[in-house]
Assembly symmetry: C4
Homo-oligomer: 232 residues x 4
């Protein structure tokens, strides 16, 4: 069942590990088959060295039931599902506790767009969700995490800002497929580290002007993209 | 004698090295056989590349005498023994000078719980011991280090906060076995680094609310744990 | 066509990757054949693992047209060409988003010469370009980036300060050949990191005196250089 | 000539590189044969990958003349020789531009003893030399660097503080042999990094009390040392 997607989700999880965004069993990547309405996700608490395609867990998008696999899904699975249900064009979701992005999340601060590395990948600041209320933490916690992410994108296009900081927690990223989602998670960590150092050097540093943000983001994305070997 | 435990203690010491928590001969891991009342610990001052199971040293828990092995035990052995005597459910102890945890220890500051990475593993702030008095430093120093750790846990459950910062020194961690103790030492270093960056970004950052701490800690620990593949 | 230069430009691009100045497809190195007026540059958006000599792109210096190769050149190619046209003795150009140099660029701050590591390689502060005007961003952006670099060197000798920070963007470096340009990019990152830490330790730290700058720079460069195995 | 010492000096230089204290051709290690009054040192400006025993340079201690080898010695050789002449018990000298120690040197600040990692290896603060005067920079510069180090140890025992920060430059370390000198350089970098983080967390942090410094330093050094497998 979904053997190709399982392979790709496995490879994406291993890439998180190889790129040092996660240690031990931390972090998780999922991918979706939109036609079948099925999501493939990493099992909970299994070390990266022991992962194999048959250990991936398949959930149905609608209700979150396990429809294939003999292990428990990642405990963050309900958050992934909320993102797939609300962000209709995404094909992959990544969650990590990568240290620099997590520091911004714990600081409860959005990452301002301070340079072109950021602008090449995220069209504006990377938002930080609001704190959950006690009742939202006590019941359906992982679902409510997802809902605060969706709220944070009420006036934002998730396709152009493919990541978020969950307050006091850490980053979630997404993309058109699992590889793209991992790529965005790696870039977010790089951007988070560089923004930290920038503000330490110059606490008064302002975000780049809109015209520069437009130039860089549009160079890589959209109809008139000129970066890379074909128009995306 | 205790050949399986020696193998596991050796592997745990090597894992410290592989995960870059220690350099040269720094750091040490021990494990205990509670039935026999015997502790296996790394020898003092031997480089990690030269360690082998037969170089491990066996001490009796009660009096700290060497009962097997031809090398001197780690000079921190008396501290390990105090922990085993007072924290009756622990199976392994780890000491490192990992840089971020050591920075907090040198700053004489407990690590506040600023996010869910911390809350997943430590149920509240990670305490810092009081400074030793001159007389405690001059006589039975390594024993007294252990006793200040025990004091720091007078009103704390060592099973739920499996690590401590020894003031002006560095971290000690423990766990149900040696692997678990090493895991906690790795997590502590990650938490220490991220807390540092968080406070640099937002010096006014407050600890997470109790309800979020409960949710995350209980998700991974205790009777109703839902993380991983079985209830621990 | 230019097969030897293609090999060297490829090797220089791979060295950027091996030395961790770039991730994924980021960064680019070019080299020039001054006699033929031809520049070899990395293609746009191709991962480092997939690069080969035949994927390098050849541009004519004068007009920037592709004269060999089947892929699009790096989107920063126009900036490289401006540098080759204005800095007549350089043989290689490197652009990266290496994190510490990028942090200084995003902070819009030149890197002061705080020590001899800097003085060994850059004869004075490493300048930061002025911000581009909106019209300069909207049209011929990559050319205008190059022109602001040239402006920043109006009263500076590019041969003795072989690198620059492009405001809100990142570093460009150059050298007598591609290897030298990569070397300068690596040194710039090291200098940027150390200058950051120096000012964090001592915010009042002043640049080194001219006599020390002269001594160190002249030891490695110029007619009376005594460093290395021959006079450069 | 001195083939065994050449091998050891080569190995020590390579260890600097393997432990990431140096890049490219930076840094240098020398060792001395006290009986013959001969010093073996790395050649100037040769990449680490190209070093071999026969490329090591032999100098006579007294006058600094090359007595064996076909390459120029490291440009820091005169500093090494001053140290060997004045610190009669040292067997090896190491110079690096390792980033954290260099940041302290550039900040012109001694590293205070903030914890036991420091106290285990350096008996008190690690001094920073005074700035050289213009005349001292213009003539016999590398000799004068050595003399300011000797001055900094006028009231300090070089055997118990085996390293120094040269103001605006970087660290020099030494030891009873070349391996010991490299070890001290690695420890200094670790101590420099941790002290930086400690003061960032707690700017009011005071040095540890003398009694703790004594306890830790004496545990590893001197007649009553108890660390390791024999008394040093």
């Amino acid at each position: 069942m979904l053997s190709e997607l399982k392979e790709r989700v496995l490879a994406a999880n291993l890439e998180l590990y190889a790129r040092k965004l996660v240690i031990y069993t931390w972090g998780n990547v999922s991918g979706i088959d939109r036609k079948q309405g099925l999501v493939v996700i990493k099992p909970s608490g299994v070390p990266y060295e022991e992962l194999s395609p048959d250990k991936m867990v398949v959930l149905d998008l609608e209700r979150g039931h396990v429809v294939d696999g003999h292990l428990r899904p990642s405990s963050d699975a309900p958050t992934h599902l909320v993102l797939y249900r609300n962000f209709s064009e995404i094909g992959g979701v990544v969650h990590t506790h990568s240290p620099w992005a997590t520091a911004w999340a714990q600081a409860n601060a959005p990452i301002p767009c301070l340079g072109t590395t950021h602008a090449d990948h995220f069209y504006g600041p990377i938002p930080c969700t609001r704190q959950l209320r006690p009742a939202e933490i006590r019941t359906d916690y992982a679902v409510n995490v997802g809902l605060t992410i969706v709220q944070a994108f009420k006036d934002l296009d998730y396709r152009h800002v493919p990541g978020v900081l969950v307050a006091s927690h850490g980053p979630f990223c997404w993309g058109k497929d699992v590889h793209d989602a991992v790529y965005n998670a790696v870039v977010l960590e790089e951007v988070a580290k560089t923004a930290y150092a920038t503000l330490a050097l110059n606490p008064a540093c302002k975000p780049i002007p809109q015209v520069l943000l437009d130039r860089h983001y549009m160079r890589k994305h959209g109809d008139q993209a000129t970066y890379g070997q074909k128009v995306f």
